[in-house]
């Protein structure tokens, strides 16, 4: 168990600066998700923690120990890759025990630790198979098993679920969360999928162009996004944004309202609007609306289907406005 502390960390590839300067503390025992769009530097950051990539400057310590210049195997970390990175010619047992065998551990202890990892991940019946004979989910469990046997202080996950189909992804998400519950080890998890970030993390770090936009719990990020980028990135469907006169009148340049914080009906308050498309999810209905302030998405009841084609009004619920100026959050009034 250990925290990860990053101070004034920078990374450049040649003349391209990927991470300008970063300070971040990943608390001991937390499940921290690094999330951001492709190319935001989240994988590079993870690989620097792992030691697979060297920082250009700055300090990096794991459990209070400066790990600069240390080999990846010497940092107390274990990593799970997107491609699983299993050794194809080795059986599951050999894959999981590889690190221990390299370290010339006692065979009885190797067996015990492999068995323990296999029990946790329900891999026991598969121990003598090769990766080729396993499904995607099973392969990812082997990759996690390979990480577990090393008893790492920090687990690093690099988009581990991206190669799985949707149903399996949900199942593995739960399994990784249960693993964290059980081991209570610090886990750092990289994903570009904000749903994964919201559901799994107890802390989310949102990255954009190598900079940290905001750090906080999933609900903090959802309820009080500190930047327009976070507001637009977290939440599905995305937050509705209105530009122009309306935010300027309120002292900002961008006004945001989440789809579930809007009402759509035949009243006489709000902006005039017309539904042009309905997305029926069963539990929810999302109405895509053309309004006088531009296209908006509103979460509604399924009865809204009867209102298609009529002249409607769309309004924001009181106290649910997000106002931004120059990309930063600023105080918003209760109502418009």
């Amino acid at each position: 168990m250990a925290d990860v502390e990053i101070k004034k960390l920078t990374k450049s590839f040649g003349t391209v600066e990927v991470i300008p300067e970063m300070d971040l503390v990943i608390p001991d025992g937390s499940f921290t998700v690094l999330v951001g769009p492709s190319g935001c530097g989240k994988s590079t950051l993870l690989r620097m923690i792992a030691g697979l990539e060297l920082q250009t400057s700055g300090d990096l310590s794991i459990g209070g120990v400066d790990v600069r210049g240390r080999d990846p195997s010497d940092r107390g970390i274990a990593m799970v890759f997107q491609s699983y990175a299993l050794y194809p010619h080795m059986t599951v047992r050999e894959n999981i025990s590889f690190a221990l065998r390299l370290a010339k551990a006692d065979p009885a202890e190797i067996e015990a630790r492999v068995q323990n990892a296999a029990d946790i991940l329900q891999l026991t019946p598969l121990l003598d198979r090769r990766p080729k004979q396993l499904s995607g989910g099973q392969r990812q469990r082997v990759a996690i098993g390979r990480a577990i046997v090393r008893n790492p202080e920090v687990f690093l996950f690099d988009e581990p679920l991206s190669n799985l189909d949707a149903a399996l992804r949900v199942q593995m998400r739960v399994e990784i969360m249960e693993l964290h519950e059980r081991l209570k080890t610090t886990m750092v998890y990289v994903t570009h999928d904000q749903v994964e970030a919201m559901t799994m993390a107890d802390r989310i770090v949102v990255l954009n162009e190598g900079r940290i936009e905001q750090v906080g719990s999933p609900l903090e990020l959802y309820d009080t996004p500190q930047t327009a980028f976070v507001a637009g990135f977290i939440g599905s469907p995305k937050m509705n944004f209105v530009r122009g006169d309306i935010p300027e009148r309120l002292g900002g340049d961008l006004l945001g309202v989440r789809p579930e914080h809007m009402t759509l009906g035949e009243g006489d308050t709000g902006w005039t609007a017309r539904i042009h498309l309905l997305e029926q999810l069963g539990s929810d209905t999302f109405a895509h609306v053309d309004s006088e302030v531009g296209p908006l998405i509103v979460r509604c009841h399924r009865e809204v289907a009867e209102l298609v084609g009529r002249d409607l009004r769309v309004a924001a619920k009181p106290g649910m406005l997000h106002l931004f100026k120059d990309g930063r959050r600023t105080d918003a009034p209760e109502t418009l």
Binding site: P72, Y87, F98, L102, R146
Partner: protein
């Protein structure tokens, strides 16, 4: 295996099949045929059928038996060295070090130089007292002016060195392409698991490249005696037959002693021996290729 979709394919395959028969199967059969006769090119009398007599002669011919030993040496030592050095070079060339692009090009030179020229290059390199080897040794304060081609063991060593020099780049290139097809994340996972550079290659590269290594080895063995021009230029099979492999001995019989029948016997024997030794591997490789083509 009657498949109506395959109807008419025979017309497409036939030209290749007939060409192959004409340029490989027929010459082998004719060679075998010649080996069953006594032929004297300098006499007006025609060939006399003598059955397998030439084959019995083979096993009492000391020079032939010696050439068998030399053949084994000239096949297995260079091929083993080519595979080991080629593999190591591929591992080094895979590293992203400065200047590697140029290294790769420089590296292929021996493979594109005609073998006879390679032989000459080496002959000049080891000219006693004047070649590059003497000069190189003098830089380290050594006086190396021996004629390496005049002693059996050192002459064989020179032929082996030349053969390795000529054959290794191609092996390295094949190994490199196999190496680069292995996912980088496996090596990263192994680094995290605590494997050093050598261990990463030993536990990941070598096992995963094994099919390629076997294939390359088998083909190098089959091609190993293509160093004929190198021997021709460097040693002419000498001294005392120490660098005279079976094909060179066949050449001597056929073109110097004009014993075409005996030369044919040697060549046919060699063909059968090589096929016997490599057929299991070749069949395996063909089967694997077939499986991969289907899947």
């Amino acid at each position: 295996m009657k498949n109506p979709a395959n109807k008419g394919l025979m017309t497409l395959i036939l030209p290749t099949f007939l060409t192959l028969v004409a340029i490989t199967v027929l010459p082998i059969l004719i060679t075998f045929g010649i080996s069953l006769f006594y032929i004297k090119l300098t006499s007006a009398a025609g060939p006399v059928f003598i059955g397998l007599e030439n084959y019995f002669e083979l096993f009492t011919d000391d020079r032939f038996l010696n050439s068998l030993v030399v053949t084994v040496e000239l096949i297995f030592i260079p091929v083993a060295l080519q595979i080991v050095i080629g593999l190591l070079l591929a591992m080094i060339l895979k590293e992203k070090l400065p200047g590697m692009g140029w290294m790769r090009i420089a590296f292929l030179l021996p493979a594109v130089i005609p073998p006879a020229v390679s032989g000459l290059v080496w002959k000049l390199f080891i000219v006693p007292g004047a070649g590059g080897l003497t000069y190189g040794a003098s830089l380290f304060g050594m006086d190396l002016s021996l004629d390496l081609l005049s002693m059996p063991s050192s002459a064989l060593a020179v032929v082996v060195a030349t053969s390795v020099w000529v054959g290794t780049p191609f092996v390295a290139l094949l190994m490199l392409s196999a190496l680069e097809s292995i996912g980088e994340e496996q090596y990263e996972a192994a680094r995290i698991d605590g494997a050093n550079w050598f261990q990463r290659h030993w536990y990941i590269s070598v096992p995963e490249m094994l099919p390629v290594i076997v294939t390359v080895t088998v083909f190098r063995i089959l091609e190993a005696l293509a160093i004929f021009p190198i021997i021709f230029v460097l040693t002419g099979g000498g001294p005392a037959g120490s660098t005279e492999p079976i094909n060179y001995y066949a050449y001597v019989n056929g073109f110097e002693y004009l014993r075409v029948d005996y030369a044919a016997t040697i060549i046919f024997f060699f063909f059968v021996a090589m096929m016997g030794a490599t057929a299991p591997f070749l069949i395996n490789i063909a089967r694997r290729e077939g499986r991969e083509a289907r899947s």
